[in-house]
């Protein structure tokens, strides 16, 4: 690990000011992804701002019947919260399908959104990677891309965003609340939070320098059956090949978001007007760019969706 200085932030304003002051600084909360990347010198912050003592660990009901989840709520606590289990089951299920018990006890809501890709070429520091070292090229294109994206890719990057939680939040139409050092607040729809790589794949999301996530809010519950189906190479503790988050209403209409196919939780609302899995999957993955190793993904999405729709009827 490269040397860094360390401070504990006493307030969100404190943390935002410290972040704005230090271009080389990063916030640390759970640390489960950041420290992993620091050990590999993929992340090399010169200063760490520990935000664990900030009062951002509450889950509160909102006036419109929704839920406001503090940025520091641990993944375990979010998955186990009575209202999340009752009203937002797809989010609970998505969280529980990710990582391990130890990691979920530490990882936070905001940190989960901000985790970096698990593209093997991003992790291999001996090879070029535009996300790790802008302008060096993409080793994944033409490489072993079995786990990588087929939607919203560019000639510079085909990484996926690895979060399951974010896929659950996408199907729930969550919004991300942020604050900056000058006190300016904004809310970002989850659909606009993570970004397609384009020609700047090193920028994962819509946050500006010095901007801090304070909470994620969920709108009032929409009812229906909540399902999260994750397909992976092991039964547990592995990233998704593909995943489907679904909320299906009694009339069979649903909303669907997908993991493992794009640099962001993937959802095409227009496709949800279709009723059978094949039509929904085709409309969702129109224009997919697959390769030899991940050509199975569109069909796997379709079949997984068909299975989810079947389960929702039961």
């Amino acid at each position: 690990m490269k040397a860094f200085t360390y401070e504990k932030a006493q307030s969100t304003a404190d943390a935002a000011a410290a972040l704005a002051r230090n271009p080389g600084a990063k916030l640390i909360a759970g640390g489960t992804n950041l420290l992993d990347l620091m050990k590999l010198q993929i992340e090399t912050p010169t200063h760490l701002i520990d935000i664990n003592r900030l009062q951002l660990d509450q889950i509160e009901d909102t006036a419109d019947g929704g839920l406001r989840i503090g940025a520091l709520v641990r993944n375990t606590d979010l998955a186990a919260h009575p209202r999340v289990r009752q009203d937002y089951g797809v989010l609970s299920r998505a969280l529980l399908s990710g990582a391990s018990g130890q990691l979920r006890n530490k990882a936070t809501t905001a940190g989960n959104l901000l985790q970096r890709t698990r593209c093997p070429y991003f992790y291999d520091t001996t090879l070029p990677c535009n996300k790790r070292n802008p302008g060096t090229g993409c080793s994944a294109i033409g490489g072993i891309d079995r786990n990588l994206a087929i939607m919203a890719t560019s000639e510079h990057c085909i990484a996926t965003h690895p979060s399951d939680m974010a896929v659950g939040m996408r199907v729930l139409d969550a919004t991300v609340e942020t604050v900056r050092a000058d006190g300016a607040k904004r809310t970002i729809p989850i659909a606009d939070f993570h970004r397609a790589p384009g020609n700047t794949p090193h920028i994962d999301n819509a946050l500006a320098q010095g901007e801090i996530i304070t909470a994620v809010t969920l709108p009032a519950p929409v009812g229906g059956k909540h399902l999260y189906r994750k397909v992976r190479d092991r039964a547990s503790y592995a990233f998704a090949l593909i995943s489907v988050a679904a909320i299906v209403q009694p009339d069979g209409r649903g909303r669907f978001a997908y993991g493992g196919v794009a640099p962001k939780p993937w959802r095409v609302e227009a496709a949800e007007r279709q009723t059978d899995a094949k039509a929904i999957a085709e409309a969702t993955l129109a224009g997919a760019r697959t390769s030899e190793h991940n050509a199975f993904k569109p069909l796997l999405v379709q079949r997984t969706l068909a299975s989810v729709l079947q389960e929702a009827k039961g």
Partner: protein
């Protein structure tokens, strides 16, 4: 160097540490509690699992300075020779290890697993996530998936945990 005060197995330790020191390295190299093991050092194997404020975490993926004032329990704090924690005794009885390297992490994780089930925290394999959870073999397997045993002692590890959970004599 940063100053940090850790309560480890009931004893207070005041340490001066480079901020890069992980909790794992602080335990092993500074407090000389070498029961907690370094396996992958990347949160993938679970050998470094300890309890912090009664929750199991990977001690390799957290900095010691982030735990000022926290209460940490390692394998040495769960029980002692002659006064084993029930989970330690069950691992011995069921031969829940071969080389033993992953065992401290397995045992701390197993203790955390049963606490989490008791606290009603659901898992990926829970059929009804709103129901009270039970320590079934499927639940235990899923919840222990963050602990890898290269010797493959899994079936005996499962037997040991089931016994402590009271689902198997």
């Amino acid at each position: 160097m940063n100053s940090v005060e850790l309560s480890i197995n009931g004893r207070t330790h005041r340490l001066q540490l480079d901020p890069r020191t992980t909790l794992l390295d602080a335990l092993r190299e500074h407090v000389h509690l070498t029961g907690t093991k370094k396996g992958c050092d990347h949160g993938q194997c679970g050998a470094c699992t300890v309890m912090v404020n009664d929750r199991r975490i990977n001690s390799c993926l957290t900095l010691a300075v982030m735990h000022d004032g926290d209460s940490i329990t390692t394998i040495e704090g769960l029980g002692r020779p002659g006064q084993l924690h029930p989970m330690q005794a069950a691992f011995v009885k069921h031969d829940g290890f071969q080389c033993g390297y992953c065992t401290p992490g397995q045992i701390c994780s197993a203790v955390g697993t049963l606490q989490e089930i008791k606290a009603g925290i659901p898992s990926h394999v829970s059929v009804d996530i709103t129901a009270i959870q039970k320590a079934t073999p499927d639940e235990i397997r899923e919840r222990m998936s963050g602990n890898i045993c290269r010797c493959g002692a899994y079936s005996n590890i499962l037997d040991a945990i089931e016994e402590v959970a009271g689902v198997k004599a």
